[in-house]
Amino acid sequence: MSPASSEEVQTVVAARRLRAVRSVFIGVGRPSTAAILSRMVHNPELVLVYESGTIGAKPFRIPLSIGDGELAETADAVVSVPEMFNYWIGPGRIEVAFLGAAQVDRFCNLNSTVIGDYDEPRTRLPGAGGAPEIAASCGEVVVVVPHTRRTFVERLDFVTTVGHGDGPGARGRLGFRGKGPTAVITDLGVLEPDPESKELTLTQVHEGVGADQVREATGWPLAVAGELRTTEPPTADELGALRRLVSR
């Protein structure tokens, strides 16, 4: 088997994060691939929840959209959008939410609305979708994004979704119920909020990646944990399952 690409390592690490989790909220793309992979190799009981209203979907293939028919056909329950947000997400019934974003700041706030000025944007992005309320209410949030200076910025062009706001105590002041972001998983490593300052700190690098390389790809002076862990490389099982899944 050829060695794992950095994107494959990212997906495998995200899948491991769901080992002991009951339910995960996911959009399409890498988070969805990771969650399906986790059901294949780590946690067959994992409940996949998609925004389209499918609770307990068991896709065999990676869906292109959150509305693919296979998600509804295999789900334990299919609910309307108001029900999804009011009965399931709002009350914090979902344990983990995987989110992506175009920009992430040091307190893990997210931008998926615009690059540039809101009224005269350089790049108009899709917008909030479910992210603000998902991040406020789900048990915890794991962000899955590529690690570049375009993504990891000193200052967001627009705060679409609050992670840890302006630091310690911010979520409490805003009345949020969930813990907020607990990890950012990238193709270079893993960042976690410092327990005191809530600032994202590099705690883990993937094999062959140095802390300097991650600092270089981050748009603010990145804090690095004293004991930097190295990601355990994907096992043959994990990588084999991931490649089978992608090729289906």
């Binding site: 509305g67 028919g69 947000f85 479910g130 309320e133 705060v159």
Partner: protein, 270 residues
């Protein structure tokens, strides 16, 4: 009681220039046939309302029929950007597009309030975001517990257009699979059109089926495969290849117009 009619007649009668029109369908049952009929009939100055303006609204925005967009997520799911939506916002082409932007939870609650004939909905949300200052949301205090909540205004579109699997000859509608916010949109709107895959003698109860009685629907019209390239669960399949192809078709203004002329406008110059 719903009138059984054709898509063309229903659009002619129900959709007027300047209307707020919600063509709903959350990743499923998207009413493409009816949306294309709105374009062919040349409606102008519309306020398009939809949680997830995807390819259909990209087409409608690119054809210049919309003055305003009320939405919560504008992307081509799983593929990327909506290029016509972006071109309108970034460059004002073919015209400027006024935005009213919400979160999904906000839009879903706005429809639910509209369906309930309440002026607003209460929810937790928007706190700490830049969206709060850019949209219609107000802080309120719960009179019972003192908790800080927000209120979002009810959505009351002039017309809701949705697609469903079937209707009977009385105009009672049934849809199943991912239900989205179609029922809420129909109940919230002043007028409504439901296009259906087929007209049947009798609705057979379905697991997870959502029934919308004829007496809350203005018009029902048969439109077989009327949600393509979206799908009608159990009847048609989502054309994922087309959603991918749309990325290239929509990227270029000329190619977009040529495509719309050929495939939607029926030879009428785009």
């Amino acid at each position: 009681m719903a009138e059984l009619t054709s898509v063309a007649e229903a659009v002619a009668e129900l959709v007027r220039d300047g209307d707020a029109v919600a063509l709903e369908g959350f990743t499923h049952l998207i009413p493409f046939a009816a949306g294309h009929e709105v374009l062919r009939q040349g409606r102008r100055e519309l306020e398009l309302v939809r949680m997830t303006p995807d390819v259909l609204y990209d087409q409608m925005i690119g054809m210049g029929c919309a003055r305003r967009l009320v939405f919560s997520y504008g992307g081509n799911p799983g593929v990327g950007s909506l290029h016509r939506f972006r071109d309108a916002i970034e460059h004002g082409w073919p015209r400027t597009l006024e935005l009213e932007e919400h979160s999904h939870a906000g839009m879903a609650n706005r429809y639910a309030a509209g369906a309930s004939d309440l002026p607003c909905a209460l929810m937790r949300g928007y706190s700490g975001t830049d969206l709060a200052a850019r949209t219609r949301v107000e802080p309120v205090t719960c009179p019972f517990t003192g908790e800080q909540l927000v209120a979002v205004p009810a959505l009351r579109p002039d017309v809701a257009i949705v697609h469903a699997q079937e209707a009977d000859r009385e105009g009672n509608v049934q849809l199943w699979g991912i239900p989205g916010v179609q029922k809420e949109a129909v109940l919230a709107a002043k007028r409504s059109l439901v296009t259906v895959e087929r007209i049947v003698d009798e609705l057979e109860p379905r697991s997870g089926g959502v029934v919308i009685p004829a007496w809350v629907v203005t018009a029902v019209a048969a439109a077989p495969a009327g949600s393509r390239p979206s799908y009608a669960h159990g009847i048609t399949e989502r054309d994922n290849a087309f959603y991918r192809e749309w990325d290239a078709i929509s990227r270029d203004r000329d190619r977009f117009q040529a495509w719309m002329g050929e495939h939607v406008m029926g030879g009428v110059a785009a």
